[in-house]
Symmetry: C2
Subunit: 473 residues, 2 copies
Amino acid sequence: MRERHIGASCKLFFKSDPLKIVRASKQYMYDEAGNEYLDCINNVCHVGHCHPAVVKAGWEQAQVLNTNSRFLHDNIVLLAQKLSSLFPSKLQVCYFTNSGSEANDLAIRLARIHTKHNDTIVIDHAYHGHTWEVLGLSPYKHKSRDDLPDWCHIVENPDAYRGKYTSDEHADLGTKYADEVAAKIAEIQASGRSVAAFFAESIQSCAGQVFLPEGYLRQVYKHVRAAGGICVADEVQCGFGRVGSPHWWAFQLQGEDIIPDIVTIGKPMGNGHPVAAVITTAEIAESFNKSGVEYFNTYGGNPVSCAVALSVIKVLEDEKLREHAKEVGEYMLEKLKEMSNRHSLIGDVRGIGLFVGIELVKDRVTKEPASAIAQHVIFRMKESRILLSADGPHRNVLKLKPPMCFSKANVDSVFALLNTVLTEVREVKAEHIQSAVHALMGGANGPIRGELRQTESCRINSSKPPAKKLRKI
Amino acid sequence: MRERHIGASCKLFFKSDPLKIVRASKQYMYDEAGNEYLDCINNVCHVGHCHPAVVKAGWEQAQVLNTNSRFLHDNIVLLAQKLSSLFPSKLQVCYFTNSGSEANDLAIRLARIHTKHNDTIVIDHAYHGHTWEVLGLSPYKHKSRDDLPDWCHIVENPDAYRGKYTSDEHADLGTKYADEVAAKIAEIQASGRSVAAFFAESIQSCAGQVFLPEGYLRQVYKHVRAAGGICVADEVQCGFGRVGSPHWWAFQLQGEDIIPDIVTIGKPMGNGHPVAAVITTAEIAESFNKSGVEYFNTYGGNPVSCAVALSVIKVLEDEKLREHAKEVGEYMLEKLKEMSNRHSLIGDVRGIGLFVGIELVKDRVTKEPASAIAQHVIFRMKESRILLSADGPHRNVLKLKPPMCFSKANVDSVFALLNTVLTEVREVKAEHIQSAVHALMGGANGPIRGELRQTESCRINSSKPPAKKLRKI
């Protein structure tokens, strides 16, 4: 039925053996047979699947009124006021949308109207959403840079582990990578074009769970503003306290003086309910208003969406989930660092709060991505009912972005199993892995993105047993 | 608070004296003081505000599971299957989104990928949504045609009352207006460009509640397909049975043989909950799939959105609301025709089911739009707690698109009051109206769109008393 009626472009997790989840609560999901899965990846159901307070808030409002924002209503104002209070005071005007994609789409529009410029700068491998224009600033979704529109300019992913400049070889990566942005701006201007905006997730997610190096945004924002552009922080995946207290937003990791001109928020905001927003300055909002074009979003800011979002923020505060994220995140990082001493497959671990990446490599010196092994690990974890996923251009970075109630005991379960699986991988002969991976991946098509080709499957050289490699380190 | 925190580009109804609605049920809304308003315009809360069955369906599912469509779930398949069953059998593949704008945005993408062409043809004054690319095919949102992108080509609004060809002067308007599309295609091709899609609402809404003339789509679709383009029917405002039984979709009014290649649906689909969809053919879905780019919409097709949409369809069926819309719509048209005999201000009445337009003119011969009078009527109706609105390029077309449970008694109330207000207008001296309108409209800015200039305010010539004009007819 799904094959007949749902577009095949909508991919499932675990394509060869997809999960049918029928129920979820907190950080757990349950299949038809009642099996419990630990959810390490759902960054939408932020305060826990089906959180009763959030469900109740939506339900109560839905019974009373759910109309568009053409009428005055307390909820939209209360939410805007609450959100503004979580941002630096300059960011005070909200526009409500139904998805992060709609929010980023509107951000492009605001940037162009305000600056009267057209072009954008984005980080390589970035993903900002699925509308036509937003796809134009999402290198992640294009097979070739040539497929991107001419107004989109890509700068290096400031990846300290695998990027153009690495922490092994360079000090002050922030300046190194910011200089790349300055050079790109010069190039854009030399070609007679102009920069409307610099768009960046405050932590690169699809691009491989990459944290911005210290000082990066401070310098980039200076360069962009000097060119008459504005700075957009995409917090759709990393916002709402995921990075742990004291912060609400990941851009704050770059310093209290870092204030974007526009912030876009989404996924976690409704704990699954479609609600998202753009927060900007009074000046940018005024430019938009002066353009004379009304912005009307039928469902955006409706009383139910606002009630749900208000409730999510309240739960984050009442249950001290940012503090919890900080504590569990620190515990997780510590455990991960220990584990990386035991497994040479782990090339890098990085994380803040409940936003963690584990980069798997075949060789710590060459850093050859262990893409197929990452897929194998994910499938083995799933067999044992732990849901993980991988991202990054090589799909070799295991990601953990669990609901915010994820516990230390959950960390222990995940890492105990991960330890077992990585040990197995080390011990099993390469050819066995290769055939197992092939079967698990369901043949020529990758389990999630068709782009992952079979040519990327396991290439561990059986003449170099992994055990030896381990000893090298 | 709203002024400080909500972008001023988000406009309120009745700006000078906005309504604060706190509760709604069926076709009624209630303000803070408990005053009841009859809602004649909310085409989102389709089966009635806060319909208990729909609220319950959303609430029950939200308690159990609300995750993304990466996992198998019955609801998404059941909804896709149900929707497909409401369309001609060729339309069988669904993509779920959160808004009509996202649906139309995806439709552009599908059209371009499938046809390998780029340009679109749209009807003048059309509105298809608020994302960047969709704004590009929404002449309604642009002050000048020059502001539209070069890939968007406008054809005449096939308006039998006020268009280039009118039913007074021409027979076979369908052919006349379809020939305009053929000519536009020739022009596009002569300039070395190519047509990806013809986009049209199946009834023009923002463009003035305009019904397509008989035979229009049959011929247009032929021309567009001959040029290698595809045909998109935007049913976001007019779909889901609003036109009355036996139809589910307004494109069906053009004949059972009319089958669009893509249909987009939205607003009424979730009765206020953000859910929308694209329905297309297996061939177009396959072209999209072959492009190798995954389509992932975080909330699109989530179990709650699907449960809500399934429930809306069930209520439409259980409560026989399409049959009801047909019956009440016929009654309304009959009453309106009677009333137009009494009021020369009514230039034209048109409607099918619960999609009705009443075009106000200052003079039936010149058809000069009575834009300010329309605003005056709306404000007077609101004073008596009936919510109406106006649309069309001159904003002189009163529109009625009420929840589907709107009754004959509601029709009687609306038309009794409308009769009173139109009689007042006829009797009051023009200069009085002019100052009253000015005050009611809150000064130089129109109540809803800033574009409505004061220069459009009432220009009834007091030397020609309306009473005389009435006798002329």
